[in-house]
Amino acid sequence: MNKHVVVIGGGVAGMEAAGQLSKNGCKVSLVEKEKITGGHLNDWYRLFPDRRDSIEVKDYLETVTSDKAINLITGTSIEKVTSTRHGLSAFTEDGEELIADAVVVATGFDLFNSSRKEEYGYGIYDDVITSADLEKMFRKGKITRLNGESPKVIGIVHCVGSRDEKVGNLYCSKLCCVTAVKQAIEIREFLPESKVFCFYMDMRMGGAYYEELYREAQEEWGVNFIRGKVSEASESINDRLIVKVEDTLAGRPLKMELDMLVLMAGMEMSEGGNIIAEESGLNRGENRFFTPSDNHFGSNRSNIRGVFYAGTCTMPMNITETISHARAAVSDVVDFLNNRNS
């Protein structure tokens, strides 16, 4: 085909799109702002619902992107995409121009900055951590409080930065519930003597085998679920954390002491994606993610001809959905490249 496609973002969606494009005979420039590809996958330990090691998925993506038709450019950000007479141009932060026949935007998501929810004390209290911090502890093979002790009672707060008008995020990030359940099980695996409490507003287990994992957490791992959102965390006199929550199913306020509080940070449009959107005039929705041209049959198409979306830059998705969405984007790109002059 001998067409050149620029893929912006070397996470799961970008890598899969690049791999599929090369299989379809395109030359690809895969541009990643970090030094290495893999995106958030580099930060996760095991994946839900089957808890396979994230390294397996990364190995797969590295294999599909090893084709010599893919030119990997790391440590570089694309900030702008424009239409030209001949096709498209993508500009790096240094103003360097990459000429392309099509562009796939795969800029992904950023995790919600949990310190914005000051009432939970992330960055203030020692043992308030995020779901991402906990994944790193799992990878290291040890869950410890900052003072080195092993936590005995651990709380998990769902919906941190999601379904929260105060932080401007009305939407559900969709995957934090199952992440909480997965992590609750893993905490119990690492620390069999511990007690785990999930504080949730709704359990949104909308994926294959998510509900089953939830049941497993209750039945086999004795994870406790309390319906109610933690209003605040504070430090107790004996160096532990106190949380206040309404046990909405008992209709009563509840307080308890914990050794560790894990915040399930939601997903937000990435900063890089926002820059590209502003500089290029790509449409974003109320949730700030890119708005595809059609919700049902154009979820990979943008408002600029030749620019396509892949993955979580359009909405929160799990890895399975991200890979499928990236493949669908390639189908649209190939169709566009074959038919645009006809």
Partner: protein
């Protein structure tokens, strides 16, 4: 004049750390399905007792788990053990047995007998 003066309101807050969960533990050791309730309320919806008195078997299970044992004890005797709750539970919780075991647990501490 006997009600003259100040009163102190009893706190409504559940203090999880000071509550005793021996009733909950007694049930959990014997009826594993007690763990998997998802609080849908199907049991309470079908409950005959609940239709005529202020009794919620769904809420009762929560109160057991939180260790609000005085409230549990007060409400436990209202159940007529008809078992309709167990029939309708989508999660397969043996709710009738939960009540039976809760009564048994109180029974074992005579001063708390239901």
């Amino acid at each position: 004049m006997d009600k003259f003066g100040y009163t102190i309101s009893k706190g409504r807050q559940i203090n999880y750390d000071t509550n005793s969960r021996h009733i909950a533990e007694y049930i959990l050791e014997r009826e594993n399905s007690f763990r998997i309730c998802i609080e849908c309320g199907c049991c309470s919806a079908t409950c005959t007792t609940g239709a005529f008195t202020k009794f919620s078997i769904r809420e009762l299970q929560i109160l057991i788990k939180r260790g609000e044992n005085d409230l549990v004890r007060e409400n436990l005797k209202k159940c007529m053990l008809c078992g309709k709750c167990t029939l309708v539970c989508p999660r397969g919780v043996n709710t009738r047995n939960v009540i039976m075991l809760a009564r048994e647990a109180f029974q074992k501490r005579l001063k708390n007998a239901v």
